[in-house]
Subunit: 396 residues, 2 copies
């Protein structure tokens, strides 16, 4: 077990105490939505595959207030490499707000003055080393052994994450989900919600998602992302705890995630054929790079800092397994499909086909396509395009 | 130096002797175009970057007969992972013919009964370990040391390959290229031909190409392909000769090449969500795979058998450097642009933009888009769609 794994719960607790300390004061000084990370624990949880886990902990945060009837809640499920931090800041000095801050908050499309918005970390969240993330997965300590589970952790699907999130909502007093929304892997969880708890979920907002099942192309991309991790000798078949971790493999994986989450239009607009370093023509040496190569390498390395290798592999598996085609008939929620035109991970034709299938089954669906050349990430960075559509969808 | 590197020239020679032996007889028994691999040597060559190389050898093959005036020649430049084997078979028992056999041969779009068709291996050809490939690159023996060059081999651009190919054509008595054609990396070389030897080249057929420069997106994809090779500890900074070679890295690279050369439509049609092995549900274990994952892994491993790691890296660099934007004005050839609709390596908008720019400069261009969901590889596997357009383009 690494030193980090040992002390992480202590650091996280201290960090949250600090946050509690500043929240009130900072709120008085800024218009920013200030939020705090909280922790939820299930002492016993049995996975869909029938494995028993003890002490399952997940982090979450909320924006707004639950009404007395418990019926104004909107759950936000996060994407593959995301966390519960969908909106607001933990402290006013934070450089960036949560990833959907443009649409979540008082007066925004997902209006925190009307709705009680909850967002939670998934099981096996990638960002295991992020002090603001609380998750249970293969790199967590197995209470029975005092050591990380590693690959002995059971395979989990998004159905498991949704079941644990449902227990959290029950504890918070939520009686019905006014809506569940999510981007990418979060859109997948939103669909799981609608099929697993049809009476509980009134609306689904499925952003940059695959529809009702993971397409073969996306399956293969997920595997391609994971390949550098298992190829890194430091991965050691998942038993890297207390040893050198497969940091190079994780950085290479995150580099590939970053590239495939974009599009050629983004590459042209952001980099073109610029050199990484002025005066170092890539024609002159193998290690002279173009700016886009250096930019992606830097992004991959930066994102790898908080990313755990085994959690990454378990999230790949969870995404690959997504398939609710057989359960569409159970859905009573209305669904808003919002793909992005230039998305290469879940090309919009999949959401379009799912929308058409859903309508053909006599169900209530709406469709809005994000314009742009930013690729898959338009579902995060350009989501404000859909603000009015979302607002209207939630009002009806 | 590996045993293989030592004996390769001997094996190749034996192989060609065998071919010579069967060619005549087999031709009498089959309608297949039979071809033979030949070798061309330049005793001295100075690269564009000013480095001197001795004993530069490249393989080539020809279909048809050169006319007395030397003006009916069509040169076929090969793609990234391709070879000179564009058409025909070396022996009637070969399982597959050359990659463009559907459009090259007597009576076909590139009519070997009218034209003298030549195709040659590039410098630093990937398929260094293919006995039918003759190339000079970083893994070739440096005559001065008797050992492979490794990374001491000069960086080469496609301008170097084109210059060596021009010397080959001069030796063969070609006075003018009636046309130069190529797919992907071959389309890039065709553009280099048109700008380097404008008086020599009458027509260009630019299939699944990027237009006049490598876009940032494609640059980055090329780097992503190469990453598993340099990450493989066996690569040893390019000094793997006589040691364990970075075979895993090369296989991972070729797997990624195979995936990105395709498209989601191909993935759905070929694999869908089928399991790799019946009864082994991917939900049950991390190493239970979907069919598309297993299929790509198999393809990557198969293609890696003949692929040399350092040659791969040098070809990545050569492709990345492609940029003839400043030389378009020199081109006198007419150009036929043939992108593929579902291409994700060189999306058709690049060829379309190049075509429009070329026309706007008062030059002669034509445009035809291959339909299909096969991705980049439609430029090889579905090229027969363009047969009539090519035939007409060549007749005018």
């Amino acid at each position: 077990m690494s030193y980090f794994a040992k002390i992480k719960p202590i650091i996280a607790t201290c960090f949250m105490v600090m946050l509690f300390g500043v929240t009130g004061m900072a709120a008085a000084q800024s218009a920013d939505l200030l939020t705090e990370k909280k922790s939820f624990t299930l002492e016993h949880y049995t996975t869909v595959s029938g494995q028993n886990l003890k002490n399952v902990q997940l982090g979450y945060e909320t924006y707004g207030t639950l009404n007395v009837a418990g019926t104004n809640a909107i759950f936000i499920a996060h994407y593959f490499s995301g966390t519960s931090h969908a909106a607001g800041k933990y402290q006013t000095s934070d450089k960036a707000a949560g990833y959907w801050d443009s649409i979540i908050g008082a007066g925004k499309a997902i209006d925190a003055s009307k709705y009680f918005v909850i967002s939670a970390d998934s099981l096996a969240n990638l960002n295991f080393k992020d002090l603001n993330v609380i998750t249970t997965g293969p790199s967590s300590i197995n209470p029975d052994t005092g050591k990380p589970y590693g690959l002995s952790f059971p395979i989990i699907s998004f159905k498991d994450t949704v079941r644990v999130h449902k227990a959290l909502l029950d504890q918070l007093g939520v009686k019905q989900l006014y809506a569940v929304a999510g981007a990418s892997g979060g859109s997948v969880q939103a669909m799981e919600w609608a099929t697993m708890y049809p009476d509980f979920v009134a609306r689904v907002i499925h952003v940059i998602g695959p529809g009702f099942a993971m397409p073969a192309w996306s399956l293969a991309l997920l595997e391609a992302w994971a390949a550098p991790i298992t190829a890194d000798p430091n991965w050691s078949h998942g038993d890297y705890y207390g040893k050198d971790e497969p940091l190079d493999g994780v950085a290479a994986a995150m580099k590939l995630v970053t590239l495939t989450a974009r599009n050629w239009g983004w590459a042209d607009a952001t980099y073109g054929r610029k050199f990484a370093e002025e005066g170092k023509n890539p024609a002159d040496a193998l290690d002279h790079k173009f700016a886009i190569e250096a930019g992606l390498a830097k992004a991959g390395a930066a994102r790898a800092v908080t990313t755990d290798a085994n959690n990454f592999l378990y999230m790949v598996k969870a995404n690959q397994m997504f398939n609710v085609e057989a359960d569409i008939g159970k859905i009573t929620a209305k669904i808003l499909f919002i793909p992005a035109k230039s998305d290469l991970i879940f090309p919009p034709q999949y959401a379009r086909a799912a929308y058409e299938k859903f309508k053909a089954m006599g169900k209530r669906g709406e469709y809005f396509e994000l314009d742009g050349t930013g690729g898959h990430l338009d579902g995060l960075l350009n989501i404000s395009q859909a603000a009015d559509v979302m607002r209207k969808f939630l009002a009806e």
